[in-house]
Symmetry: C2
Subunit: 395 residues, 2 copies
């Protein structure tokens, strides 16, 4: 895997942009990534594009990337529309990385884009709810008296999981609030974050209750955005004189075991990624994790082995995962504060890590960061994540 | 590419199956393909799954394959949901083939599945209509007085293209009817075809006018179905003692140029595929083409160079593309008679060709077939196909 390089990255600000389309968002992120890499559009040999819900939000069910990138200058080459729920972009990136690692291509574009906002907010929530077995979910909703209209049904799953896992995580509700406080503090330093302000513990705990114990500020928001990465062979990167190439040490995708007999998909992905990268948790300088709700960040500490013999909550309380700590987690603000346009998130994490590894992360720079990890999950089938991806990057 | 083998294929009958789901269809096709290959479900190392419109038909917008294959015995490994409109399955197959060709995997499953029928037929037609830029199409429809409710808006595109191309094809309307007669005659010999009966020229010409000059029997039907292929490295195929392995000589995907400055995507794909396979049109013993409407089969003759210096219509009239002719086209019945559950079609073509190359195609066997080609297109963006794929296979 040492021969694959992320030569350029780009992303739009994340937020609610009523006038934006998947096309306008995608083209902006792609143009920035290509410029960052010093690559002209016609040099792109293939496109792997993640998007999760355009079929339900904009009605563009098919050939999403071909439509979004019409007029971008990238045409004719193979396009693949890739979907794995909230791990769509990282799955697209994985396929891009593998296609270069195999020698098939030297210059590939990975894209994640999502227009999630809709004038009817219930439609956005309903769309998010299709990252599970919708037939089984409909039966459960019918038995339970109807679908929630004021939240993603996913938050109900997160809340139930949270109740089950608080003891394992060593966590109290205040810890979940503290995750949100930390990530909003990080996001306040990220000009592209959806939330640009710090929040206090009291504000998080006092915000509207979504599903106990999760308050609004413990849940990732609905938003729009796109993120892109230019994946080059090491040889092409040398030819182009890419200044600070970021190497891909590992790119791993796993799906869940609906029957729950295997370890959870994110754990299997992490084990495989550490093995592929030849690094361990202690080698990580900076990490982005899938904090779709605040408790999920603590679960990710456990999944990734960041806490050693401590509990995840103890790691959080120690300050190690804050900017300035031993292993900052979610310096971008994470899903909670940077935002979570679901099909874009997996590459947005990688954009942050590339910026960190290149030393251009501004006010949120992790000094001397050399090894970074992105952890991204998508969907739920049975008792497990439908998709789990890990990327390990290094300069 | 000589080191990749299609070791087993399977498909459901194609047709209108109100009680079927994407899951029931997918699991049936996959079980048949695995049994054909002599591979147990846990031996599958990755899944590439094509589906085009589940988000709009069943509501399963995300993690479609993980949901469809829950309970199939394939779990935990990487799953990728791949979409390229009517070329979704062949795009999934391409990624599966490349992932084995690169040495990343030795045993990969490629799947195409589509539940297209819906109690409200207008919903099926509307779903098919999302294989174009839906925003541009909506503007065109608004300008034109509203969307058709009794047909796929795609047929309007095909009709317009037909009017433009009749001279180039050397074709009259009777030739389009003759394509349908031929393919229905082939389909009548295919127990899995949606239409199991022959039709006469008079019946085709006399069937309901959909959009002039296309009558109902010149258009592929709406239907449900799934098709699967087990892709093995040559080494794994030898270990497993696969009896008559079918080699993949070429697997090519191209996207369109919305601006129309490049040659059409299907032509570029065909050129690249012949080059990759090291064969030409004269080497083909049997061909499956994307006859979504009857004129498209004649256009495919030109794209693939099947007619030499003759016109496509002259090739058809010569009988060369009938079973028993020099290069039978669409022995399965093609999209017109076998059926066209859009996300399944690209692999259904390959199922037919593998059966032909293995000499097990029953009443429609092409004697001694050794080299076969599948031609599959998906969507339209601007002036070109959004996706075009070609697979060349040999025994």
């Amino acid at each position: 895997m040492s021969d694959v390089v992320l030569a350029g990255v780009g992303m739009t600000p994340f937020g609610k942009f009523p006038a934006a389309t998947n096309g306008s968002l995608a083209r902006a992120a792609v143009a920035e990534a290509l410029a960052d890499a010093g690559v002209e559009p016609p040099a792109v040999e293939a496109v792997f594009a993640g998007n999760a819900v355009a079929g339900l939000i904009t009605g563009q069910e098919m050939v999403r990337a071909q439509v979004a990138l019409a007029g971008s200058g990238i045409a004719g080459v193979p396009f693949f529309n890739v979907e794995n729920a909230c791990a769509s972009a990282s799955s697209a990136l994985h396929l891009a990385v593998r296609s270069v690692a195999s020698g098939q291509y030297d210059c590939v574009l990975a894209l994640g884009v999502e227009k999630m906002t809709h004038p009817d907010k219930a439609r956005s929530f309903a769309a998010i709810g299709t990252a599970v077995d919708v037939e089984a979910a409909a039966a459960a909703v019918a038995a339970g008296g109807g679908a929630p209209k004021d939240r993603s049904p996913f938050m109900d799953l997160y809340a139930a999981e949270t109740e089950r896992s608080m003891e394992t995580l060593g966590a109290e509700v205040a810890d979940f609030a503290a995750v949100s406080v930390k990530n909003h503090a990080h996001g306040a330093r990220n000009p592209r974050a959806q939330y640009g302000s710090e929040v206090t513990l009291e504000e998080v705990l006092g915000s509207r209750m979504v599903v106990p114990p999760l308050t609004l500020l413990m849940c990732s928001p609905i938003g729009d955005g796109a993120a892109a990465a230019v994946v080059l062979s090491a040889g092409r990167a040398r030819e182009l004189g890419v200044g600070t190439p970021v190497r891909v040490l590992a790119s791993v995708v796993r799906s869940g075991d609906p029957a729950g007999r295997m370890p959870p998909a994110p754990s299997r992905a992490a084990t495989a990624a550490y093995d592929e990268a030849g690094v361990g948790p202690d080698d990580l300088d900076v990490v982005e994790v899938h904090d779709a709700a605040a408790p999920a960040e603590l679960a990710a500490y456990a999944t990734l082995g960041l806490a050693g013999t401590d509990s995840p909550a103890a790691l959080l309380r120690s300050g190690a995962t804050r900017l300035g700590g031993r292993v900052p987690v979610n310096p971008s603000g994470g899903l909670l504060a940077r935002g979570h346009p679901i099909g874009a998130t997996g590459i947005a994490q990688v954009v942050e890590l590339v910026d960190q590894l290149r030393g251009r992360a501004g006010d949120r720079q992790v000094p001397g960061a050399r090894v970074a990890l992105a952890h991204n999950n998508g969907g739920v089938v049975g008792a497990d994540a439908a998709a789990a991806t890990i990327h390990v990057l290094a300069r």
